[in-house]
Amino acid sequence: MRRGPSAFGVAAIGLGLLFLYAPIAILVLYSFNDGRLVTVWSGFSLRWYRALFHDRQMLEAIWTTLRVGALSATMATGLGALAAVALARAGRFRGRTGLAGMIYGALVMPEVILGLSLLLLFVAAGVPRGFWTVTLSHATLTLCYATVVVQARLASFDPRLEEAARDLGRTPWQAFLTVTLPNIAPAVAAAWMLAFTLSLDDLVIASFTSGPGATTLPMRIYSQVRLGVNPEINAVSTLLIGAVATGVIGAWLIQQRRARRA
């Protein structure tokens, strides 16, 4: 039997990846352009990066975004792992359909609706909008993704290992901590990273739920983009893409090496 993709398959992959990466490559390339125009190459320069490091508003937005991302990702991962354990392990319990329904519902719900509904919640509760309201909102959005990631890992993990630990006298909690948790740790880490990057990325929910003094990076980028293409945005985008790509590829390499050793 012949293995390997056909010429058609190779073409599909090649064109598909070109489609996915060409715009990003162009964006990165023009962040090093000396000129202001995006169509004319006028020599290599780091001037837009220098401009970026003197842009106080942009730096503040980056700092806010990182704090919102780290905090909300931590909450989302904790809640998501709990939900995943319940969904993957508990079989049929009361409220299972409700929990799964809310998680998958929020996962596909258009962000404008999520943003609007969260805003109405904060208005109804009389909570002033700012750093904490964005953080809570992002935790809500990303906890659904975290659940899916951890649940997928739990589904492929043999529950009999945990039962064995319990037969050997561990309490359920000890069995979970010493057997299950180390096994799902990579998925928990992946869930945190996904939640963090989704939070870094979100414009719509942040616009609805943030207030003065808590402008996130996407909100800042968006207000600049409305004014037209600006090479400083290319520079900040390049840094963001570089950081995320390094993280994701690094995690993938570690996982590959583990898989080969196992």
Partner: protein, 294 residues
């Protein structure tokens, strides 16, 4: 057998989602029945708790379908509704046409290469959505890179930015990973022996694919289509950055009603109308193909 108490782990996330997801959606529904008012927050009626039961009754009496009637009478909203569904349906079909061959090609590679290719497809999903759409502005604008390339090849320039075609292109670009992954997941788990059996019985490779592989991959097709169609119908960033003032999509209408017109009841009514339309695909998504995502 021991009693499994893992269900208790659900308590905290369950309560969280009720407070931050379930209840707020009800608030949107309630607000869509209210009227705009010159107040902060800008809607009426509000519950007067000090008046007790009478206040609650007055509040309920103040709710009506006036906002919906107002929206239904306005062509703008109906057009936005129709174009949202048309654009996301078109983009879903295109995504299938682009994504299926990619997923199929990846599945046929050696395992190590396969894993690298899957990473290559996922990686853009991790990098900022907003930035990836922004990248297209520089390509599509009248004096952009696309026209520079077309001009160099002696072809006439095209003006794509701020058209429906640009929005569809942007949606296909942004949602491609969401289409390829579920398709890849079902195709990877396919049983190669079924295809071999078809071949042994005399089917050509195309016929074997069309009568065996493709029907078996339909759960992945359904999962990918729903996973893309539902959020695309309410998409804001893509139509806003690549679509200009036309075509209007519901996500942008909600945004504009809320931020520019400060008409909160209208924004809520549009959101509820969108939600009601998406309810069927959302329920379908929750039922059948979710294991495909695992």
């Amino acid at each position: 057998m021991r009693r499994d108490r893992s269900g208790l782990a659900a308590l905290l996330p369950y309560a969280w989602l009720l407070v931050f997801f379930g209840f707020p959606v009800l608030l949107v529904a309630r607000l869509s029945l209210s009227d705009t008012a010159l107040a902060m927050p800008p809607y009426a009626p509000r519950i007067d708790w000090s008046a007790g039961v009478a206040g609650l009754r007055a509040f309920l009496a103040g709710l009506d379908l006036e906002t919906y009637a107002r929206l239904a009478a306005d062509r703008l909203y109906l057009d936005a509704y129709a174009s949202s569904l048309r654009i996301s349906a078109t983009a879903t079909v295109l995504l299938l046409l682009v994504g299926y061959p990619m997923a199929w090609g990846i599945v046929r590679c050696r395992p190590r290469l396969r894993s690298a290719l899957v990473l290559a497809v996922i990686l853009p999903f991790w990098t900022s959505f907003l930035i990836r759409i922004y990248a297209w502005i520089a390509i599509l604008k009248p004096a952009g890179l696309l026209n520079a390339v077309l001009g160099a090849a002696g072809l006439p320039p095209v003006d794509l930015l701020n058209t429906e075609a640009a929005v569809i292109l942007g949606l296909v670009y942004a949602y491609l990973p969401f289409m390829v992954l579920p398709l890849y997941a079902v195709l990877e788990r396919r049983d190669e022996r079924l295809v071999e059996a078809a071949r042994d019985l005399g089917a050509g490779p195309l016929r074997a694919f069309w009568t065996v592989t493709f029907p078996l991959s339909l759960p992945g097709v359904a999962a990918g289509a729903l996973l893309c169609f539902i959020p695309m119908a309410g998409e804001f960033v893509v139509p806003d950055l690549l679509g200009g003032s036309e075509p209007l999509m519901l996500g942008r209408v909600i945004w504009t009603e809320f931020f520019a017109n400060r008409d909160w009841p209208a924004a809520s009514a549009v959101a509820i109308a969108l939600l009601a339309t998406l309810l069927v695909p959302i329920l379908l998504f929750e039922r059948q193909p979710r294991r495909v995502l695992g």
